[in-house]
């Protein structure tokens, strides 16, 4: 039986690419900016590994487009934004997630839990 943290970690790993696509949908962002957007929604990557390999895979798969752009007073950063393919993948992924979530909710809602003291 997975621990609470372990299950949360596994769940997040399974949908972290989807979450990245979703935060990119709000506008182009560089790596750490996406980390901050995720954190603002309650998703901390600490313990989940870094998002960089995932961004690399999304880029290789053509789901994101990149460009170098100067940031606010800092060095030029690599900004990631959704490609057309990425938007389709996000749309499909959201549908899949909702379907899975509803199915799991259906199963868990049936459960009756009595914890003896």
């Amino acid at each position: 039986m997975a621990t609470v943290d372990g299950r949360r970690s596994q769940l997040l790993r399974g949908v972290l690419d989807l979450c990245l696509l979703a935060v990119m949908g709000e506008g182009a962002a560089y790596g750490y900016e996406m980390t901050k957007r995720l954190r603002a929604r309650g998703l901390s990557i600490v313990g989940e590994g870094s998002i960089y390999p995932l961004l690399g895979r999304l880029e290789r798969d053509g789901l994101v487009e990149t460009r170098r752009q100067a940031s606010n007073g800092g060095p030029p950063r690599k900004y990631y934004s959704l490609s057309l393919e990425g938007k389709r993948a996000l749309e499909t992924g959201i549908d899949e997630w909702k379907a899975a979530r509803d199915a799991i909710d259906g199963a868990l809602d049936l459960a009756t839990v009595e914890v003896m003291p």
Binding site: G31, T35, E48, G49, S50, R60, S71, G74, R77
Partner: protein, 195 residues
């Protein structure tokens, strides 16, 4: 933090990542970490638990981007020294450590049987082994090898003492190596040194 970036660079070089791409990844990483630190955070906020395994992180990133040389091994494979490439001396040293551990057990058993008479288990055995003259190991009437050996007197004591000292020396070295090779500290440190 510079050390982490340098470790990544070394791994990218080993994997055959072209320099311009390696420079780009290093620059992105540096900028993000510096921003996190400037905001009062830490490198862990950027890297998560990858902070503790730069080689694996670097290999995973390069592999995910598809920028490693074709001849390099799977970059996102396991990174612990037990699964990835190891120094050439690792296997012999590990074997020595294992053998020494066995020697230590043998030494302890010998000390129990031969060295002390106080134990309820050791005393009868010692009486048999250290009796006058020689001892027949197998009972009479059986068609077995009549092994005979002497376990008392100066001719026995000196070789046994030398043997025990030798076993003890090998055992101490082996235990040190075993602690070194199988400790979490060594594994983490190996990840930094390999390559």
């Amino acid at each position: 933090m510079i050390e982490f970036i340098e470790e990544c660079r070394r791994e990218w070089k080993r994997l055959g990542v072209p320099d311009p791409i390696a420079n780009e990844m290093a620059a992105d990483l540096t900028a993000d970490i510096e921003e996190a630190q400037a905001e009062g955070g830490s490198a862990e906020d950027v890297l998560g638990d990858s902070l503790f395994d730069p080689r694996r992180f670097a290999a995973a990133w390069a592999g995910a981007r598809g920028v490693t040389a074709p001849s390099t091994p799977d970059p996102v494979g396991p990174s612990s020294p037990t699964e990835r490439e190891r120094p050439r001396w690792y296997r012999p040293a590990a074997a020595l450590a294992l053998a020494a551990t066995v020697c230590f057990v043998a030494l302890a058993a010998a000390a129990l049987v031969v060295g002390r008479h106080g134990s309820a288990v050791a005393a009868p055995v010692s009486r048999v082994l250290q009796g006058p003259g020689s001892t027949r190991l197998f009972g009479p009437g059986r068609a077995s090898l009549p092994l005979r050996f002497s376990m008392s007197g100066p001719s026995f004591a000196a070789p046994v003492a030398i043997l025990m000292v030798g076993l003890l020396a090998v055992a101490i070295i082996g235990l040190c190596l075993a602690v070194l090779f199988w400790s979490p500290w060594f594994r983490r440190d190996s990840n930094r040194r390999l390559g």
